[in-house]
């Protein structure tokens, strides 16, 4: 509060101080002169305070409108006269000529001319900005008060617009109507083209011009899309780039190989990215990237993949790096990588089919057949046929193993490609898996299940000998991998059971541990159901061991020791779990199976066991499968002079099949020079003819185990042959194993195959019916289409049923009144009948 005044009064502002009216013309003249100084870079002598005060007064006196207008006009004049002329002078004639045709001048000349022009423009723009920001400083009050009140753009922005209109949109020269803006675009594009061709250009220079274009807008809205850069330059840039890459890709595809193309494309993509960062704006990045990708990849990927040096070539030659490039490129344009996937799948199926065909060819080839003519195999009269068949069976086994190996190699190859080149891409993995499944389950190659089982069998019997646990595990894993691809799992199960059965009974398996390991692997992979029966087989084996031991104790407990007692080793097999039919091969007749007549000593033991067993389990019936057993016989041969001249009884321990034992025991009671004919033997033993023939063959034909002598000597056994005991048998070892011919696991003959398939189909029918009933029980009513779908999906884990078969099963279920058709339903539907 101010002393000396009775009452404070508000005082009018001292506007009167400098006169009520501002002399607008004079003040403006001062300001204009100052602006001129600013534009000629003499600002340091000017007083900001004075200029601001002038402008402030004018605005305060409501002359803002005039001031704004005058400044605007001043700038317009300045730009259109001084600046434009300066820039026009920079245009060298060849720069102007070049707009129409690129020929005539060298790139270097063009570059120098272009840079001169760009430099000039950049300079003008920079100066303009600096000056305008100074002007804006001086006119701050006008900007804040007048412009804000009247919704005018700030003087700075207005001046920027002026630069666009007066400079960029001015004609190149008086008699050339093209706009400077167009020329600017052209020059920049030309420079970029030079860079693409390998020249070095002044990136910073271009960048500053680009910034200028970024700062200006096409219209007054000042939106992002309306920037001159976007509207004018970028569009043109994308167009020319598209043209350029289109022709470049054409040229490259014609002239170079796929690998080189990929490398080039990748370099271009990188270059464009860098260009956007260094020379242009980053916002252009995605757009130009798309152009490049479209032109170099998307439109060309098909051709690229299909090229002679394309994907197929790369796969075949393990060009992992190039495959990676292809993968990378394809990924850029296509999330699904469909072209690459297609090529890979095709290649897998092709190669897989080759493997299949090889296997088929190998298995069908008539071996190193003595008959070059294709006919003999078909000639039933040919004597060699059986042998050939025999050999071909071995050969097929080899083929099967080879097939599995081939498939695994193939799998390894693609796994490596997938891992190293495709960056472990999920989609591609699916595709690869699908392709493998395709060719493995291909309808032209129905034997995959069998082959895989054979492969396992082979490994169980021989392959894993002497391998470390790790290696064994790897082998098993491989088998599982293949198994994964197989669709008809039930078929595999059938084969596996058969093979496993042999291994167990014949003690062929190297390690029980490994067997169990395999089972547990399958359990993980295929589920509990699948291995149920397999596990039961193992259980049977264990129980049998206990039984044997128990029986032995039982016999010992009977009292006096019979020196001639026969030891019995027995395997009791549950008939449902074991596929004995395939082993025996003769069970077809069921009950009518001929009973082998055992020698009395053996028969006694047999009865003893039956009694023992019945005591333990009542109500079970034992069926003796003599064809599966074997016996150890100690045989004594007549003294024969040794090398050292001494005579010595020769004892051999013979390990023969049960049938063999039965046959040999016949000769025990026979005088040395007597013989038995084939028919006599058969009559006495009641061994089925095929088995008898096989056994006699091994006893009388095979040179190393010729315990009997056959007359006449020939390879085939005929009903009329006579057999003598070979007194002079001379074996090198004390223990001699008499093998039974064709007891190994072999590829099935076609006939067997058909049988297997038939059986398989039968069991499938049950599965299908069961599935249908399960579904219907739950749903009560269902349309045909849905029922089929659900059935298929339910069974997918086991096998892939044919739709026709499902239909037939449904028909059959209707006949048996499990289901009924719903009358009058729009689509075919069924109802479950409880």
């Amino acid at each position: 509060m101010i002393a000396g005044r009775g009452r404070q009064r508000i005082r009018p502002p001292r506007r009167g101080l400098h006169g009520d009216e501002v002399d607008f013309e004079n003040t403006w003249a001062t300001i204009e002169a100052a602006f001129r100084e600013i534009h000629t870079k003499n600002a340091s002598k000017l007083s900001y305070e004075e200029l601001y005060r002038h402008a402030y007064r004018i605005v305060l006196k409501k002359k803002g409108e005039d001031l704004y207008h005058n400044v605007h006009e001043f700038e317009r004049k300045w730009l259109s006269s001084e600046v434009r002329a300066a820039i026009q002078q920079l245009l060298s004639p060849n720069l102007l000529v070049d707009v129409q045709s690129l020929g005539g001048t060298t790139a270097n000349e063009r570059r120098v001319a272009g840079e001169k022009f760009l430099k000039g423009l950049k300079q003008a723009w920079g100066d303009h900005q600096v000056c305008m920001s100074m002007l804006a400083d001086v006119l701050m009050y006008m900007d804040r008060v007048y412009c804000a009140d009247h919704r005018r753009p700030s003087i700075f922005n207005a001046a920027m617009v002026l630069f666009r209109d007066e400079i960029l949109r001015s004609p190149v020269s008086d008699h050339d109507a093209r706009l400077l803006l167009g020329l600017l675009n052209h020059v920049i594009l030309d420079q970029i083209q030079m860079e693409r061709d390998g020249d070095v250009i002044d990136k910073h220079l271009i960048k500053s011009c680009v910034w200028m274009l970024e700062g200006l807008h096409e219209d007054e809205t000042e939106s992002e899309e309306q920037r001159l850069y976007n509207v004018s330059f970028e569009r043109e840039y994308l167009d020319t780039s598209r043209e350029f890459y289109k022709s470049e890709s054409e040229l490259l595809l014609r002239d170079s190989n796929a690998g080189a193309y990929c490398r080039h494309a990748q370099r271009r993509i990188y270059e464009e990215d860098e260009r956007c960062k260094q020379t242009l704006l980053e916002s252009t990045g995605p757009k130009i990237q798309k152009v490049v990708e479209d032109e170099l990849i998307k439109n060309r990927i098909h051709e690229l993949v299909e090229m002679e040096s394309g994907v197929r070539y790369m796969i075949d030659n393990d060009r992992l790096e190039e495959l990676n490039l292809v993968y990378d490129l394809n990924r850029r344009v296509d999330e699904k990588k469909s072209e690459l996937t297609r090529a890979i799948q095709k290649r897998i199926v092709d190669m897989g089919t080759d493997v299949n065909n090889d296997a088929i060819a190998a298995s069908q080839a008539p071996a190193p057949a003595p008959a070059p003519v294709p006919a003999p195999a078909a000639d039933p009269a040919d004597k060699n046929k059986k042998v050939a068949q025999e050999k071909s069976i071995n050969q097929q086994t080899v083929a099967a193993i080879k097939w599995v190996d081939d498939v695994l190699t193939l799998k390894d190859k693609f796994d490596r490609i997938w891992r190293d080149s495709f960056e472990a891409d999920g989609l591609l993995q699916q595709a690869v898996t699908r392709s493998f499944a395709d060719f493995i389950n291909s309808p032209t190659f129905p034997r995959s299940s069998e082959y895989i089982s054979l492969f396992i069998d082979e490994n169980m019997k021989k392959g894993i000998k002497g391998k470390t646990e790790m290696e064994i595990d790897a082998v098993l894993e491989k088998a599982i991998i293949l198994l994964r691809y197989v669709q008809d799992k039930d078929l595999f199960e059938r084969y596996y059971k058969k093979h496993l059965c042999r291994r167990l009974l014949m003690n062929k398996s190297i390690s029980n541990e490994v067997e169990k390991q395999m089972i547990s692997k399958m359990k993980i992979e295929l589920g509990n159901n699948f291995t149920l029966k397999l596990e039961a087989m193992f259980k049977d084996m264990t129980i049998s061991e206990e039984l044997t031991a128990g029986f032995k104790r039982h016999v010992e407990g009977l009292g006096e020791k019979d020196p001639k007692r026969i030891d019995l080793n027995i395997n009791v097999l549950t008939s449902m779990t074991w596929s004995l039919e395939t082993i025996g091969g003769t069970v077809e007749d069921g009950e009518g199976r001929p009973r082998c007549n055992f020698p009395t000593a053996v028969e006694k033991v047999k009865r003893g066991f039956e009694k023992y067993y019945n005591e333990k389990h009542s109500g079970r019936q034992l069926t003796w499968l003599a064809n599966m057993g074997s016996a150890d016989i100690r045989a004594t041969f007549k003294k024969v002079q040794q090398k050292d001249g001494s005579f010595k009884e020769r004892r051999h321990e013979l390990n023969v099949p049960t049938y063999g034992m039965v046959i040999l025991l016949l000769f025990n009671d026979l005088p040395a020079d007597q013989h038995l004919t084939f028919e006599e033997i058969q009559a006495q033993t009641n061994i089925p003819a095929p088995d008898l023939i096989r056994n006699l063959q091994s006893l009388a034909v095979a040179p190393k185990t010729r315990i009997l002598i056959k007359e006449p000597m020939s390879k085939d056994v005929k009903p009329t042959d006579k057999f003598f005991f070979n007194e002079g048998f001379n074996g090198k070892f004390v223990k001699i194993k008499v093998g039974v011919i064709s007891s190994g696991n072999k590829v099935e003959s076609d006939r067997e195959r058909r049988e297997t398939e038939k059986k398989n189909d039968d069991s499938r029918q049950f599965c299908i019916e069961a599935a249908v009933v399960r579904i219907m029980k739950q749903r009560k009513e269902l349309s045909h289409q849905q029922l089929i779908l659900e059935t298929l999906s339910q069974l997918a884990g086991q096998f892939k049923p044919e739709v026709n078969m499902v239909k037939k099963r449904i028909e059959s279920l209707i006949e048996r009144e499990y289901l009924e058709r719903i009358d009058g339903a729009k689509v075919d539907s069924y109802r479950y009948l409880a």
Binding site: M1, I2, G4, R5, R7, Q8, R9, I10, R11, P12, P13, R14, G16, L17, A43, S44, K45, L46, S47, Y48, E49, E50, L51, Y52, R53, Y56, L60, M134, D137, M140, Y141, R144, V145, D149, H150
Partner: protein, 635 residues
């Protein structure tokens, strides 16, 4: 509504009392039995804006309490004086939730409008009134351009660029050191003081909120110890004895705030002292035509780096102009005086009768608070150039105004009289100092009411004192020109409460016309802002009367009422030119007669006054309508 329960409040109150008695907490609302405070409370009760503003300017404690435990804010909100409450809050009155007085204030608020106003100023949201000043000074530590630092202090491996005048103002140690050697431009501390310690001390000097915990984050124990020792040492050396104590962390929100407030006001006082003892002391009054001869060396005792000049008003006699300026008192620093000498004469631009000009030394660093100066010093114009002698910059206002502006920029103080308020408003507008503009507007709208109470209920019939303090047209114009909404509102309210005096003046018609034109310049709408505002306040004036009137007040005002009646009668007579008006003239007379008749009956007085007010209201509204009609016809 989140209001505390009684027992909760009591508990809080008890803990608070305990904290205060144990000295942890400062008494927020100390008892104040002085006469000034009593007057102040009285004004708050009555809603007298003018007295309130005057008292605030005198420095009365806004947050004190009277013998009945009332704070001014509680009184104002209890009595429902919105404008007063706003004034109090703007000047730092506290209404903090979760405190006894704060909740009391909220609880007592007369209506929701007031309640919301109080809530919007809750401490959590508002800031200390000194915060803008502090923030500016803190920003000087890191501001890269324009360059304002004049000394570089190096500790260990770090260099700080600082301002001598601030150091001198804030630290007695620096004040002494720099007085001894004012031209120092760089200074190296012994290596044993870690840079972190110095940094903390400097942040403290520069009003930054320093947190020791944040500063020590990530340091090992030994490093921490070294830094803490360093801080201790620096604090002792700089004689800022509170440094160490003040930077230690406190968790309590109120204690933190109190400490911060203390610190800020102490710092402000230091700056204020320094400002008064150096800048104001060194101002010089010279003849305007000789002002160009002033030459200050760059190196001077008060570290000024710019001179500001203000010319006296021409038409005022010199004696009167220097209201607060004593005679020429130019005291130079003892070491380097102000060489005032004949210099090459830049011929004075104007040759008029000799005027006086006042020149203030100043610091760019503080002037940057104005956007005008910021732009000036950042530009490439003459003012931003380095010159051997200090540049003189003219500020287009009177010396008194310039001093007010400088005071505000250095100390955040803005207590000035109504006489220069409009000038300050314009100057602040020119220099883009938004805060000062607001302060000027507050002062005008508070003091400008004259002795008339702003309280609506006190003045229902537009009674005014004869001596108008304000040329309201002038204020309105100023409000428009500087775009201060508050002044437009103030003017509208002012006119509304005295409408019968203005409604017939030709100037009023003119200003309505102007307001209408302003609207047109912006957007095509049909309303005239001023008239709308006046109508609003008019309705408030009468409506409030209808609602709040009490018998006692009525009796007191009887005299005033009669005076008003008379005035009204006169006014009505005056405008009897138009037919319409004549028609309207008759009813009031009849009413008055009728009223007179009723008045004889006891208890009917109230009814009479209501009727009269209603009548007045209608008449005034009618007049506005006719005025508008006339103007619109013209336009």
């Amino acid at each position: 509504m989140d209001v505390k329960k009684k027992y909760e409040l009591e508990a809080a109150l008890a803990t608070e009392a305990q904290a205060i008695s144990s000295g942890q907490l400062k008494e927020e609302n100390p008892l104040d039995l002085s006469d000034d405070f009593r007057l102040f409370c009285e004004a708050c009760r009555r809603g007298d804006l003018k007295v309130c503003q005057e008292m605030i300017s005198q420095g009365v404690n806004l947050n004190a309490r009277d013998k009945y435990d009332y704070t001014p804010l509680i009184l104002a909100s209890l009595c429902g004086h919105y404008e007063v409450i706003r004034l109090l809050l703007e000047n730092g009155a506290l209404c903090e939730r979760d405190t006894f007085q704060g909740e009391r204030c909220l609880y007592n608020a007369l209506n929701d409008r007031i309640r919301n106003l109080l809530l919007s100023y809750d401490y959590a949201k508002s800031t200390n009134p000194l915060q803008p000043l502090a923030a500016h000074i803190t920003s000087l530590l890191t501001r890269p351009s324009p360059k304002t630092a004049d000394i570089a202090i190096t500790a260990f491996d770090q260099t700080f660029y600082l301002h001598k005048f601030l150091l001198a103002a804030r630290s007695p140690y620096f004040a002494k050191k720099l007085a001894a050697a004012p031209s120092t431009t760089s200074w190296k501390l012994p290596d044993k003081i870690p840079a972190e310690s110095l940094g903390m001390a400097l942040q403290y000097l520069y009003f930054q909120e320093v947190s020791i915990r944040r500063a020590l984050l990530g340091l090992s124990d030994e490093q921490e110890l070294v830094v803490l020792n360093g801080i201790d040492k620096v604090g002792k050396q700089l004689e800022t004895e509170r440094l160490f104590e003040d930077i230690t962390e406190i968790d309590d929100r109120r204690r933190l705030r109190q400490r911060r407030a203390d610190e800020l006001s102490r710092g402000r006082d230091q700056l204020d002292d320094w400002f008064q003892n150096n800048i104001v002391k060194h101002k010089r009054v010279v003849d305007t035509d000789k002002v160009d001869n002033i030459k200050w060396d760059r190196e001077n005792s008060i570290f000024a780096d710019i001179l500001l000049r203000a010319d006296d008003d021409e038409e005022l006699e010199p004696e009167q102009s220097g209201t607060s300026t004593p005679t020429t008192r130019t005291i130079n620093g003892p070491l380097n005086g102000l060489p005032v000498g004949p210099r090459q004469s830049r011929s004075p631009s104007r040759q008029r009768k000799p005027r006086k000009s006042t020149v203030y030394p100043a610091h760019r660093a503080m002037l940057l608070r104005s956007e005008y100066f910021l732009t000036m010093f950042s530009s490439e114009f003459k003012e931003a150039q380095e010159t051997p002698h200090l540049q003189v910059i003219t500020v287009d206002c009177s010396p008194a105004v310039l001093e007010t502006i400088l005071t505000f920029m250095y100390t955040e103080r803005a207590d000035f009289g109504l006489d220069i308020a409009i000038d300050v408003l314009f100057a602040a507008d020119m220099l883009f100092i938004e805060k000062l503009k607001q302060r000027a507007a507050i002062i005008i709208s508070a003091l400008g009411n004259g002795s008339t109470s702003a309280v609506e209920s006190d003045n229902p019939r537009g009674a005014t004192d004869a001596d108008e303090t304000v040329d309201i047209y002038e204020v309105l114009q100023a409000g428009w020109e500087t775009k201060v909404q508050r002044l437009e509102e103030f003017a509208a309210r002012y006119i509304a409460y005295r409408l019968e005096f203005y409604i017939d003046e030709p100037e009023f018609a003119q200003i309505v016309q102007e307001s209408a034109n302003r609207v047109k310049a912006r957007q095509e709408t049909d309303t005239v802002e001023l008239v709308d505002d006046i109508r609003y306040y008019l309705s408030e004036r009468f409506r409030l009367r209808f609602e709040d009137s009490g018998l006692d007040e009525m009796m007191d005002e009887d005299a005033a009422v009669k005076a008003a009646e008379k005035d009204l009668g006169l006014a009505v007579d005056d405008l009897s030119l138009e037919d319409k008006k004549k028609d309207e003239q008759a009813p009031p007379v009849e009413q008055q007669i009728a009223a007179g008749a009723i008045r004889t009956l006891d208890g009917e007085i109230i009814g009479d006054e209501f009727l009269q007010d209603a009548q007045n209201y209608q008449i005034l509204l009618g007049k506005i309508d006719s005025l508008l009609e006339r103007l619109n016809l013209d336009a």
